[in-house]
């Protein structure tokens, strides 16, 4: 039975519909990530789960109980905020114990729980300091400690890593993942960073303009995006998407030199069975377009062609090569030592079994 159920939840502010009917079922112990651009409604949804805001329509159930009208402190949840929200006038230990204190847990028990969690997070030496004396990473740990001490049934995270520098972000991400593996508590995590979403989640909800664009595992979201929005949002650099005409199980793409590149669709052609139109949007991730030596030889649908190189961007571990197909920029990821020069033709290998096709009118995936 799902542990957290969000049923047809809607939220309006004045005349604006911020959430337009959200349905999500989260299994116990899952890690749900709500990801999307600013303004998509993910933080609003998190606040509704927490009870910090009232639901306009629909229901939220936690562990079988309807929580719509429950005060946040009675939902047995804990939240980690983007700005950590540590009480400035209290020590770390007092911050962590505050929630327990409000619930009437006796002092001895509070101290014990705080000490335990401090040990897990390696912040025991910080217990008597005030938040102003801590670094960003330390404050983040304390914020997590405050949530952990409560032993809630659901953890909520509101973009907790956004205020950290890049290196710290990667470290903390791993910590959070480790924590989840150890505790197996249900977690709901909001972020605008699709890498965080991919690395942390067992289940991702991609949101845009108050609606869920796709709900699924990271693999599903990445390899079989439901529409062009999801395809373009997840993955960096974004998936290449070009409009092309379909003919006999292959797409024809006009190249920069004025010729037409014919790419056989391979297995993807089967999904075109019921599709009546002539044009599709072909989606291929940069890692599916590479140099012939780097191409996956076991792939059963690799098409080769020479294309004109416009820009070469060496990135250390790979080289990103920009070419132009169907009058659109296409980015390929080649091996670091690939021999390519701007302004010259170079051999490209397209792994067509990784291709995804979209309907140009609706943006939805075909098949």
């Amino acid at each position: 039975m799902p542990f957290l159920e969000i049923k047809n939840v809607r939220k309006h502010f004045a005349n604006v519909d911020v959430l337009k009917g959200i349905d999500i079922a989260v299994e116990p112990g899952a890690f749900l990530v709500l990801v999307g651009p600013s303004g998509c409604g993910k933080s609003t949804l998190l606040n509704l789960i927490a009870g910090l805001d009232a639901i306009s329509e629909g229901e939220i159930h936690i562990n079988g109980a309807r929580v719509n009208d429950l005060h946040p402190s009675k939902r047995d949840i804990a939240m980690v905020f983007q700005s950590y929200a540590l009480y400035p006038n209290m020590t770390v230990a007092q911050n962590m114990a505050f929630g327990l204190e409000m619930r009437g847990v006796p002092k001895a028990e509070r101290d014990r729980l705080v000490a335990e969690v401090a040990k897990t997070l390696q912040i025991t030496h910080l217990l008597q300091r005030k938040p102003s004396q801590l670094s960003g990473g330390q404050r983040q740990r304390v914020a997590m400690g405050r949530a952990l001490v409560r032993q809630p049934q659901v953890f909520l995270f509101d973009e907790p890593l956004s205020n950290l520098d890049a290196k710290l972000r990667v470290e903390m991400r791993t910590e959070i993942k480790r924590l989840h593996q150890a505790m197996k508590t249900t977690m709901v995590y909001v972020t605008h960073d699709q890498i965080e979403a991919m690395t942390l989640a067992t289940q991702i909800a991609v949101m845009n303009a108050g609606e869920i664009q796709q709900l699924g595992t990271p693999q599903e979201i990445y390899n079989r995006p439901a529409n062009t929005f999801v395809a373009g949002f997840m993955g960096s650099p974004s998936m290449n998407m070009v409009t092309a005409a379909v003919e006999d199980g292959a797409v024809n793409l006009p190249t920069a030199q004025g010729q037409s590149l014919r790419l056989p669709l391979g297995p993807a052609a089967r999904s075109l069975a019921g599709y009546g139109k002539r044009e599709v949007i072909l989606g291929l991730r940069p890692e599916a377009i590479t140099d012939p030596n780097g191409a996956d030889r076991s792939g059963n649908a690799v098409a080769r062609a020479d294309c004109l190189v416009e820009v070469v961007e060496p990135a250390g571990s790979d080289t990103f090569v920009v070419t132009r197909l169907a009058d659109k920029e296409v980015i390929a990821r080649m091996r670091a030592d690939a021999d390519v020069r701007p302004g010259q033709l170079a051999p490209f290998a397209f792994a067509m079994d990784k291709a995804v096709l979209f309907d140009p009118e609706t943006g939805k995936r075909i098949g």
Partner: protein, 308 residues
């Protein structure tokens, strides 16, 4: 875990009442202050307005008298003296305070080493009661023993300073004392304003070849508009309310040479037993202040980013 959620979920009758109470708590906490202000500010204003339309003399008499009190007020020569004095006093007070405050602020902003010592000296008069100020200046300007005598002692024997007892000049003594009291505050406002001006603007102007005079006139002073506005508002407000200083310095005299609307109101209400007339003058004072404050408050509270 399941049990905890289940029991805390079942709303008991007491819980719901407590919940409602918690929800209303903010408004409950705010309401005493609101009630106090509603009654003692707005209610009382209404009361005074009613009094101004009544036949009250020594004590309130709630019989409608139309605009009688206002008529009588406008027929008092005292009232015209009061208004004229307010005009002279107000204009000089505001104008000179701003000029002096601006000058001191600009000078202090020139990276003066003793700024830390000078600023408190200009500002300390604000800490004094108007009564103390009035008392001090009454002595300072004392004809015979004050500044006049000092000048005589220093050799300027024809110097006379009898303004305090001169009906034509007495109002200017109040101007002097008031400027002494408030100009430090205006200086502090302008200094804060000057310090808030983006240094890059100044450097750009200097590269463009602006002389110091032009720099101030064309670039810096226009940037101080908010400080000007605030200063004028605060000073105008204080000028209209001025009562303490007049009482201490001249007592409204000599005769009624330094009568101001505030002293007019007090004397007509409490000593001349013309409560309705006094109330009418108070209403006029209120309206004058409202004419200045309300547009200012409205524009301040409407700023984007405020409220919501």
């Amino acid at each position: 875990m399941t049990t905890t959620v289940a029991t805390s979920r079942i709303p008991r009758r007491g819980d719901r009442a407590m919940g409602w109470l918690q929800g209303q708590l903010p408004k409950l906490v705010l309401s005493p202050s609101l009630a106090v202000i509603a009654v003692f500010v707005y209610g009382f204003i209404g009361w005074t307005i009613v009094l101004s339309f009544s036949k009250s003399k020594i004590l309130p008499l709630y019989q409608f008298a139309g605009f009688d009190a206002y008529d009588r007020m406008w027929r008092q020569p005292n009232w015209y003296v009061a208004l004229e004095n307010l005009g002279i006093y107000g204009t000089l007070y505001i104008g000179l305070c701003i000029a002096l405050g601006l000058l001191l602020a600009i000078l202090l902003d020139q990276r003066i080493r003793i700024e830390g010592g000078l600023r408190p000296i200009y500002l300390y008069p604000m800490a004094l009661s108007f009564i103390v100020t009035g008392t001090a200046w009454k002595w300072f300007l004392n004809p015979g023993l004050g500044i006049e005598k000092v000048m005589h002692d220093w050799g300027w024997s024809s110097f006379t300073f009898d303004w305090l007892i001169n009906p034509d000049m007495a109002i200017y003594t109040i101007v002097i004392a008031a400027i002494w009291q408030s100009s430090g505050f205006v200086m502090a406002m302008f200094l804060a304003g000057l310090r808030g001006i983006d240094n890059e603007l100044v450097r750009a102007a200097q590269i463009d070849g602006a002389s110091a005079f032009n720099l101030y006139r064309r670039i810096i002073i226009p940037q101080l508009r908010p400080a000007f506005l605030s200063a004028v508002i605060v000073l105008a407000h204080m000028a209209i309310k001025s009562y303490d200083l007049v009482i201490a310095l001249t007592g409204g005299g000599p005769g009624n040479a330094t009568e101001l609307p505030a002293t007019f109101m007090y004397s007509y209400t409490f000593t001349r037993n013309q409560m309705a007339v006094g109330a009418a003058s108070a209403v006029i004072m209120l309206m004058t202040i409202m004419a200045i404050i309300v547009p200012y408050l409205y524009s301040e509270l409407r700023e984007p980013g405020h409220g919501r």
